[in-house]
């Protein structure tokens, strides 16, 4: 019998969502537990993750209630470390290909997502980053995508897709709602620009990934919108 997996997550967190996507795509049995980060339970910091962050994955040990974690389970943090762990636990899942060169390409895509999508996009949404940097980042990652491919690398869903999907979901939300601390209209403008011929490959890839059941199951757009409305009030 395989070891227990419990994922401590938050429904707003793109980093938690990355892990949920990988688990869902692999059909791995796991327990998901939403941690109220704004009102952190004491047992979370004392027994699961002293830094108090999500995602945190526990693996092994006795099968217990998520609110009563066992000291016997291994605790893992950092979303990309957890993604690699899942790929190791499920070597035939395709989360990472078997071929060393393809594995390196998947990892390069993951790294590129962090540098060129994650950082510039959330900086922009928080009103601290530039619109141009978002576009440059998207263009860079677009350059890594294969022509006409359904997935970021190769012909199977990998941790590369899991890594970028949450940001793509939030990008779609922002471009449709214009929610964010950037200047009014810049979110909508971004959406328009991404529909142009320069970004066809990227937009097609994003649409396909977001159509997947795993994307739909793990992204609650309503609560993201509610949160963004309160978090990104523009001060005129």
């Amino acid at each position: 019998m395989s070891e227990q997996l419990t994922l401590y997550l938050h429904k707003l967190s793109p980093y938690s969502q990355k892990v949920q996507l990988a688990l869902t795509e692999t059909n791995a049995p796991y327990r998901g537990y939403h941690v109220d980060l704004f009102n952190k339970p004491k047992w979370f910091t004392s027994k699961v993750n002293p830094v108090g962050k999500v995602p945190t994955l526990t693996y092994g040990g006795p099968s217990v209630d998520p609110e009563d974690p066992s000291p016997l389970s291994a605790k893992m943090t950092e979303s990309n470390v957890i993604l690699e762990f899942l790929a190791d636990l499920y070597p035939d899942s395709g989360l990472l290909p078997k071929d060393p060169v393809l594995r390196a390409k998947v990892r390069f895509f993951v790294d590129a997502t962090t540098k060129h999508i994650d950082t510039p996009f959330y900086d922009f949404v928080r009103g601290q980053g530039s619109y141009e940097d978002v576009l440059k980042g998207i263009e860079y990652v677009q350059g890594l995508l294969e022509e006409g491919g359904d997935f970021a690398v190769g012909d199977h869903y990998t941790i590369a897709d899991a890594c970028i999907s949450p940001h793509l979901a939030r990008l779609k939300t922002i471009t449709e709602t214009d929610l964010g601390k950037f200047a009014v209209g810049m979110g909508l403008k971004l959406g328009e620009e991404l529909k142009g011929p320069k970004f066809t490959k990227f937009t097609k890839y994003a649409e396909q990934i977001l159509e997947r059941p795993s994307s739909k199951q793990t992204y609650d757009e309503e609560i993201v919108i509610t949160y963004y409305k309160s978090a990104f009030v523009r001060t005129q």
């Binding site: 291994a74 690699e84 190791d88 636990l89």
Partner: protein, 231 residues
């Protein structure tokens, strides 16, 4: 054992590049080593090997050509940590990647810690960035010591892994700087840092980094070259 050729584009001074050289030495892989002069990069390097124009980079497979004339048929790969994992994947029986997934995750977490709490500070300190004081440096040491297992030789266990490979080149260069007083930082910061490290509470860390420096694959790939920017 892969039959494909490996060409490594590297530079003696670069700690990122040394990571890949250590990994190749650990697994015993045959490879061609090509030194890139970082102050004077060849014109063909960015267009034919690494568009980011950085080292390390590997050209893998394709025909056996001289490094200065890379073939479009070889696969070009970059980013030091990705290359170290790649080398581990090419030589799975080398053990630089632990067999157990939980230990692998620990190794990768250690690497994350090095990347966030230690290696960025190396360059900042050396170039005299006032943000990085001896306190910042000690926080990095504390973070690393905090996750070193008790009674183990290396970062994750008694096995030398990608975690150790990630840190060794950075610690080594940093150590040279502070021991020899090279760099643009204030001398009081250097002295405070060295003094603090003498405290017995850092025995675990000090023992660990000494073992890193004593490792054969480290020694054979470390060139105590004075980096260009500190002339």
């Amino acid at each position: 054992m892969p039959q494909e050729q490996i060409t490594l584009y590297t530079a003696k001074v670069c700690p990122y590049a040394q990571r890949t050289e250590i990994a190749l030495a650990e697994v015993g892989a045959p490879f061609k080593r090509y030194e890139i002069d970082l102050a004077n990069k060849p014109e063909w390097y960015a267009p034919k090997v690494n568009p980011a124009s950085k080292v390390p980079a590997i050209a893998y497979g394709g025909p056996d050509v001289p490094p200065e004339n890379p073939s479009p048929e070889s696969t070009k790969l970059a980013e030091s940590l990705i290359l170290v994992e790649f080398i581990g994947d090419l030589y799975p029986s080398s053990n630089i990647l632990p067999a157990d997934p939980v230990l692998r995750a620990k190794a990768r977490f250690f690497i994350e810690l090095v990347s966030t709490k230690f290696s960025p500070n190396y360059m900042k300190f050396a170039s005299g960035n006032p943000e990085v004081t001896h306190t910042t440096l000690l926080a990095g040491v504390d973070a690393i010591q905090g996750i070193l297992p008790d009674g183990a030789k290396y970062a994750v266990s008694d096995q030398y892994t990608i975690a150790d490979i990630a840190l060794a080149p950075f610690w080594a260069r940093f150590n040279v700087l502070v021991q020899k007083g090279i760099g643009a930082y204030k001398d009081e910061e250097r002295k405070s840092f060295l003094k603090a490290l003498e405290d017995p509470k850092y025995a675990k860390f000090n023992g660990y980094v000494q073992r890193l420096l004593a490792r054969q694959s480290f020694k054979s790939t470390f060139h105590e070259v004075r980096p260009l920017f500190w002339r």
